[in-house]
């Protein structure tokens, strides 16, 4: 028995981590759909899902069940194997990439020294799912959708790649964990010294995930549903899952590279240390909201389950808040040094990481509610004639700034800001040339 455990030891921890990440990610994706529907609804003066559970909180589960139980149709003219394979590729690529993301200093599946390269590679593979799915459907709308996404993803991949380079230059490592640590060391999130790269990464990320205003491959009003027009049931839900997982992924990458990953806001400012208790406050606030909602529900029998569910949620949140504040002397040493509240210290990293990721996701949804959609040629113009030149200029100026500071001893942030100003000048010139 002991032998068995000892043999499994090196496998056990990663396996647990993989399961936690996978389950957590699935949950986040499911509730991201819910959040999207709710946020869009409130932007659009309506309520969104309200029926399944209190405030529609169980809607994602109902939707998931519905999709699983639906008939899975394969069109008569479709290439069966490719049709079957395509959504799987999309999901696999999106989920595999998460193995590289450091959620907290001590919580990640793996840390590879070529992490970022691997990440770019694997996320590009996801495009195959879209292309093959559109092609295998053997139908006009999916074909057009697939063509659009091929062109779009290939073009924006270039800009995305260039914007990542400046983060690499600044940190000097390809390891995702190393990049965050470099930001902690230099005392600044790279977004503040490389705003242009951050902006380009953000825009390219929206394009990469086919989100509005770059949602041409699945433009509902033009191509019905784009590449997944012919998909139904479980296979459709795989595409759905992949799209939202990809949203979380690009947000995670952006957060890791430019917004300091698991770092708190202003981690080096002592008097802001009270921010460390934000997770407790958030859970307490959630509990308070739940209890208030229970009081506001009508007291009749038909609302019994809604009340119970909300009470349970509130109690759970309150219990979590309490658990975070268990003092160190009641716990075995879990390797966080002298922290007064070890659980809180452990959860810190993941909490801040998720806060930043949710910020991104909110912006994604917000844009969807605000902007019209680009046309295909306009998208290409923007990508090739604006984003890519600006991204290249930014890399050049960033490298120059680094060289100046290393060789001539210039103040690095100042040099980088000078580079940014030069990049912005290039951008303005490009815009003027376009007229």
């Amino acid at each position: 028995m002991t032998l068995l455990i000892e043999t499994l030891q090196p496998w056990l921890l990663p396996l647990v981590r993989i399961l936690v990440v996978f389950a957590g990610l699935s949950l986040i994706v499911a509730y991201l759909v819910y959040a999207e529907r709710k946020i869009l609804a409130h932007l659009q003066v309506r309520l969104g899902p309200m029926r399944v559970g209190p405030h529609g909180l169980l809607q994602p589960i109902a939707d998931g069940l519905k999709l699983l139980l639906k008939e899975d149709i394969i069109p008569a003219g479709a290439d069966k194997w490719v049709f079957w394979l395509a959504p799987a590729i999309s999901v696999l690529a999106a989920f595999t990439a998460f193995s590289l993301i450091p959620f907290a200093p001590n919580f990640y599946i793996t840390d590879v020294n070529v992490g970022l390269l691997f990440l770019i590679g694997i996320s590009s593979l996801g495009i195959f799912g879209i292309i093959l799915g559109g092609w295998a459907s053997n139908s006009h709308y999916p074909l057009l959708g697939a063509l659009r996404s091929t062109a779009q993803l290939v073009s924006y991949e270039v800009a995305l790649g260039f914007s990542l380079v400046s983060a690499l230059l600044l940190s000097g490592t390809l390891s995702m964990k190393g990049i965050v640590e470099a930001q902690a060391q230099q005392g600044v999130w790279f977004a503040f010294v490389q705003p242009v790269a951050f902006f380009i990464l953000f825009v390219a990320a929206i394009a990469e995930t086919n989100r509005n205003p770059f949602d041409l491959p699945e433009a509902e009003s033009e191509l019905v549903a784009g590449f997944h027009t012919e998909y139904s049931g479980f296979r459709f839900s795989l595409y759905f899952l992949a799209e939202y997982a990809a949203m979380v992924l690009v947000s995670s990458v952006a957060v890791t590279l430019f917004l300091g990953g698991w770092l708190r806001f202003f981690p080096s400012v002592r008097w802001l240390d009270f921010l460390d208790y934000t997770p407790v406050a958030v859970f307490l606030a959630a509990a308070a909201w739940c209890f208030r909602a229970v009081l506001r529900l009508p007291g009749t029998r038909e609302w019994r389950w809604q009340r119970l569910l909300l009470l349970g949620l509130g109690a759970g949140a309150a219990a979590l808040a309490a658990a975070l504040l268990i003092p160190a002397r009641f716990l075995p040493d879990i390797g966080v040094g002298q922290a007064p509240f070890p659980v809180l210290a452990t959860i810190q990293g993941v909490f801040w990481f998720l806060v930043k990721v949710f910020g991104f996701l909110f912006a994604f949804i917000w844009f969807r509610g605000t902007f019209p959609r680009y046309r295909f040629d306009q998208l290409m113009n923007l990508g090739w004639r604006f984003m890519i030149p600006v991204a290249i200029a930014n890399v050049i100026f960033c490298a120059l700034a680094l060289a100046l500071s290393r060789q001539l001893g210039w103040h690095l942030p100042a040099a980088l800001w000078l580079g940014t100003a030069a990049t912005l000048l290039v951008a303005v010139l490009l815009r003027q040339e376009e007229g």
Binding site: Q44, H140, N212, S221, T370, P372, R373, Y374, R375, F376
Partner: protein, 374 residues
């Protein structure tokens, strides 16, 4: 060119025939467009209509004049009040009768409210087609207020049958003026809200500028009317040219475009909503007292003869041509629907554009298939 002929280009790439509709999210009902595509570029198009044909004109020959009035509501079903006005005035012209002033004032108010409602529906769906998913909810919020006024006035929201031959059947309800004024007061701010979302939005401008250009000459040749014609820069509005109802009593401007593209038509319709609000405000302050129905008799039996009467419906010139043989039923009834004739310009506007522009152009033509097919 017949889109059926698929030819092969030098590169060996085939052109594809893409069927848009009749079941498509943005063909506004059951329009079917057959597109010939080279890549995503449209090189030919054909509109196939008739999926909503109900033989309204033939039905007209078998109904008495008052019986047919509810049927016209179902042609342009998002602007039923305007249809009703056109039909009632045409029959009145045939009878040689005229609605009393109070009726004409109320008719003007309701018709202009209907124009706003119709334009709101156009704005929402047009923006939705171009990918802005939020304006449609805002515009429906205001449209709802107008429909509430209709519902209070005559009991129906969509197919209102608001007017009767010779005037109105119902007096305005208590508080009608106040509600209309309250709507107009709020509506001014709401138009600004829509414009903030779209007018200066780079993507919106890029998607609509120079898309679907219709030159003034083409617009006239195709018989286009309404905002489609005015967007091309021609100042033609039946309300000014041949005033009907009480339009000669009020001041309003006719907005026109410069380039005849989708953006100009967008601006024209936005300004028309403001002008409609202006007309409604003037009218509601000066509704005269008096009877609401002219003496036209219980049985409407026009003398033999023919009449053409047209009004400026939200979508363009809506005309009714009625031939009477002296009986209680029309001998022949013909509707000139603005949507059907504006749709003629579609092929000209769409050639050389991309698939994405097709939906923008369908949206900017503001067609209603009930009216196209009748």
């Amino acid at each position: 060119m017949d889109p059926q002929n698929v030819t092969t280009t030098v590169l060996g790439a085939d052109e594809i025939i893409l069927n848009m509709g009749p079941q498509h999210p943005s063909t506004h009902g059951v329009l079917r467009v057959k597109l010939k595509l080279d890549g995503e570029k449209v090189i030919g198009s054909e509109c196939i209509i008739g999926y909503l044909h109900r033989g309204v004109e033939k039905i007209g020959e078998n109904r008495t004049y008052p019986q047919f009035a509810p049927y016209v509501d179902r042609t342009d079903y998002v602007a039923a009040v305007s249809n009703g006005l056109g039909y009632c005035e045409a029959v009145e012209k045939l009878l040689g009768a005229e609605a009393p002033p109070r009726a004409r004032w109320v008719r003007t108010i309701l018709t202009e409210l209907q124009r706003i409602a119709s334009h709101l529906l156009w704005l929402g769906t047009h923006a939705l087609d171009i990918g802005a998913i939020t304006p449609v909810f805002y515009t429906f919020r205001e449209r709802e207020e107008i429909l509430k006024i209709f519902e209070k006035y005559c009991g129906a929201r969509l197919t209102t049958h608001a007017f009767r031959i010779g005037g109105l059947q119902y007096e305005t309800y208590d508080g009608f003026e106040e509600e209309v004024k309250a709507f107009c007061r709020d509506f001014e701010k709401k138009v600004v809200e829509y414009e903030e979302l779209l007018t200066e939005n780079r993507i919106w401008v890029q998607r609509t500028r120079n898309v679907g250009i219709l030159t003034p000459q083409d617009a006239i040749d195709m018989g286009a009317t309404g905002p489609v014609l005015r967007g091309s820069g021609i100042r033609w509005d039946i309300r000014k040219a041949f005033p009907y109802a009480a339009y000669d009593q009020f001041q309003f401007d006719i907005p026109i475009g410069e380039r005849g593209d989708t953006y100009d038509r967008y601006l024209v319709r936005m300004e028309e909503m403001r002008q409609s609000r202006r007309i409604v405000l003037q009218a509601v302050d000066s509704i005269p007292e008096g009877p609401i129905l002219a003496r036209v008799g219980k049985v409407i039996k026009p003398p033999p003869g023919e009449v053409y009467h047209s009004i400026e419906a939200p979508k363009g010139e809506l005309g009714y041509y009625i031939v009477s043989d002296g009986t209680t039923q029309p001998y022949r009834l013909r509707i000139r629907p603005p949507s059907f004739i504006n749709l003629e310009a579609f092929d000209k506007m769409v050639r050389g554009h991309l698939v994405a522009d097709v939906v923008a152009i369908i949206g900017t033509l503001d067609i209603v298939l009930g009216e196209v097919d009748r």
